[in-house]
């Protein structure tokens, strides 16, 4: 297999002191923000983007750092869920069912150890999946022409809109809003300024950092203003967190199955950690739960979703790196970050920038070892962070956002735009509009427009070129099916209920 020397090269990248340090701080920051409700990986990556750009890190180092935050946050999420039953994001909700039940039985240390080990198993298994699947997928996608690309991006949008749940109409409007934001500025092909209203600063287009920080971080802070400070959460002293052999023996196969399920769900656009953890939990319940102990503090009920959401985080890297088409908000932000570092993810990435791909894969092994070694003894420290009062935490997020946005272009207009987008993001969240399609529209919009116009230029204006190849037709069918899926599923559920 020709992957082994390449992977060794990857380890040479990942084991450089700078990258080791970045992987370590990435998983550490990720664990911390994953725990804190209202920060989360998207906000953390968005806020840290300007810092990383300013620090002039090479792309592979930046990606190692951001990916560490991403999969680290999946683990951090489980700490607050298990101990306090406060999931940082939706992907840990399922973990809370059995995890928090274990805490109430006085088995918090066991639950945390199982969760950390499951994250490790899920993370390392899926890194292996990445090695198997990604190069094959990119060799296949290398034949994609502009028409196939356009269809692929339409599929990504429809999958994200329907699989993410919620109102399809709202998701479609949010996609339109993202595409609109993407079209602001000079049209690269005709040099016509669009929606700039005479502002010179807007000729370059909406800055990705400004939009992401405004829509996600600022709107989150505005939402937080509405909640009153809760009383100090009391966390009981947790004993030494060590994995007992009994627990490992009981959960190992659950972890492996959860990891495999999570990986494949993660590869699908739009599904992500939430769906992965849910699918893994219900599958496992069906397979092993003979005594009906799931939901009453069964360690396997912690192991399955935890392995799955970590594996899903890595699986989500596949469409991002091999096709250049992200399937979630976090990976869309990563795509924007890579583009800012002059790397264009797509079928050529693995060939042209092997250090980025193989360095990332190797760093996943390194980072997951860090997660395991670091987090078992340090759980107590992370719990302290959880008790940090909101009036220190949230203003820090605001200050970092403001400085970061200003640092990108030294422009006060960017700060105004950030505020406006923050208010828009707040209103969208309040009325149930999803934010992920906006970011996806913003990063994919220019590529989508370019491939559509290139395809039509090739065909001399014939629209049939969009349906000319079997791959393109297959992608259009996938897009149509994923748009209709929620309706069909709903009908079936309603039918069964009656």
């Amino acid at each position: 297999m020709d992957a082994i020397p390449l992977l060794l090269d990857g380890f040479a990248v990942a084991l450089q002191p700078v990258n080791l340090g970045l992987a370590l701080s990435g998983v550490f920051i990720g664990t911390t923000v994953g725990m804190l409700p209202g920060v989360g990986p998207v906000n953390a990556i968005a806020i840290l983007l300007p810092l990383v750009f300013a620090a002039g890190l090479p792309p592979e180092s930046a990606l190692i750092f951001f990916a560490g935050i991403y999969y680290g946050s999946q683990y951090g999420n489980s700490i607050s869920t298990i101990l306090l039953n406060i999931p940082g994001t939706a992907s840990a909700v399922v973990t809370g069912i059995d995890g928090n039940a274990m805490t109430r039985k006085g088995e918090a240390a066991s639950a945390l150890a199982v969760s950390a080990t499951a994250s490790f198993v899920g993370g390392t298994l899926s890194a292996f999946g990445l090695i198997l699947l990604a190069p094959a997928l990119s060799r296949w996608a290398i034949r994609f022409g502009p028409a196939e690309y356009f269809a692929l991006m339409v599929f990504a949008f429809s999958a994200l809109s329907s699989l993410a749940g919620g109102s399809l109409a709202k998701a479609i409007a949010a996609t339109g809003f993202g595409l609109f934001l993407a079209s602001i500025g000079f049209d690269p092909q005709s040099a016509v300024p669009r929606f700039t209203f005479g502002q010179l600063r807007l000729l370059d287009g909406m800055d990705f950092v400004v939009v992401t920080i405004g829509l996600f971080a600022i709107s989150e802070v505005l939402l937080m203003l509405e909640k009153t400070e809760p009383g100090k959460e009391s966390v009981e002293r947790i004993g030494r967190v060590v994995l007992k052999f009994k627990d490992l023996a009981a959960t190992l196969w659950t972890m492996v199955r959860g990891g495999v399920v999570g990986f494949f769900v993660g590869v699908l656009p739009g599904a992500g950690g939430t769906v992965a953890s849910f699918v893994a939990y219900t599958t496992e319940q069906r397979i092993v739960d003979r005594e009906g102990s799931f939901g009453k503090g069964d360690p396997r009920g912690v192991a399955a979703p935890e392995a799955a959401n970590n594996a899903a985080a890595n699986g989500a890297m596949i469409p991002l790196l091999t096709l250049g088409v992200p399937g979630s908000a976090t990976t869309a932000v990563l795509l924007g970050a890579l583009m800012g570092l002059n790397i264009t993810p797509g079928p050529l990435l693995i060939e042209r920038n092997p250090e980025v791909f193989w360095g990332l894969v190797a760093s996943m092994y390194v980072g997951n070892v860090f997660l395991l070694l670091l987090n078992l003894p340090l759980v107590g420290v992370f719990v302290k962070v959880l008790q940090l009062p909101r009036w220190i935490l949230m203003p820090t997020v605001v200050a970092l956002s403001c400085v970061g946005v200003f640092a990108v272009n030294s422009s006060a207009l960017d700060l105004v735009l950030m505020t406006l987008l923050g208010v828009v993001g707040y209103l969208m969240r309040k009325t149930g509009f999803p934010l992920a399609p906006v970011i996806l529209g913003l990063v994919l919009g220019p590529l989508m427009e370019k491939s559509l116009r290139r395809a039509l230029a090739l065909s001399g204006g014939e629209w049939t070129i969009l349906f000319d190849s079997p791959i393109a037709i297959a992608l259009w069918i996938l897009a149509a099916v994923s748009l209709c899926a929620p309706f069909l599923l709903k009908r079936r559920l309603v039918g069964e209920g009656e």
Binding site: A169, G176, Q189, R194, F195, L225, A399, K430
Partner: protein, 157 residues
């Protein structure tokens, strides 16, 4: 599971959102019509894509207007004064940054948010000063990014 969902709670906000979206879509479409080029660059030209985005927004808005209140949960709006104060503080940050400089404006905006989030005045000021100082050092010394000193201080110094 079908009939029990609360269909009244969100329908007003959905109707308002739908109407606003239609308006936004119309404005985008109107503005897109002005994007013309004298020569033919490609069959599609610069106006097609913005028009597609306005169509998507209009479609979403239209559906919400006709069939509001299906699907997602919503939460009621609360604490409007807090929201206004916070947005005003962020606008003020953009406006005052050049005049008052990084340190003073950051101190101010962090403080507003600290107080709004329930911090005690003295503690909030102290933490704001700490955060601003750390950020300044981080950007200036570690990342080598010059942050505005403020024209106010430049003139007097």
């Amino acid at each position: 599971m079908s009939g029990s969902r609360d269909r009244t709670g969100g329908s007003t906000s959905d109707r308002v959102a739908g109407a606003l979206l239609l308006l936004v879509a119309a404005l985008i479409a109107l503005e897109s019509r002005t994007f013309t080029v004298g020569f033919v660059t490609d069959p599609l030209g610069p106006k097609a894509f913005p028009l597609v985005s306005s169509l998507l927004i209009a479609f979403g808005g239209g559906v919400l207007l006709v069939r509001p209140g299906t699907g997602t949960e919503r939460s009621p709006f609360g604490r409007l004064p807090h929201l206004l104060a916070a947005s005003a503080a962020l606008f003020a940050y953009a406006m005052l940054l050049g005049f008052l400089g990084f340190f003073a404006t950051t101190l101010l905006v962090i403080n507003v948010f600290g107080l709004l989030l329930g911090g005690r005045p003295l503690k909030s000021v102290l933490s704001a000063a700490g955060i601003s100082a750390v950020l300044y050092l981080l950007f200036f010394y570690l990342l080598d990014i010059a942050l505005p000193i403020g024209s106010l201080f430049l003139r007097s110094g």
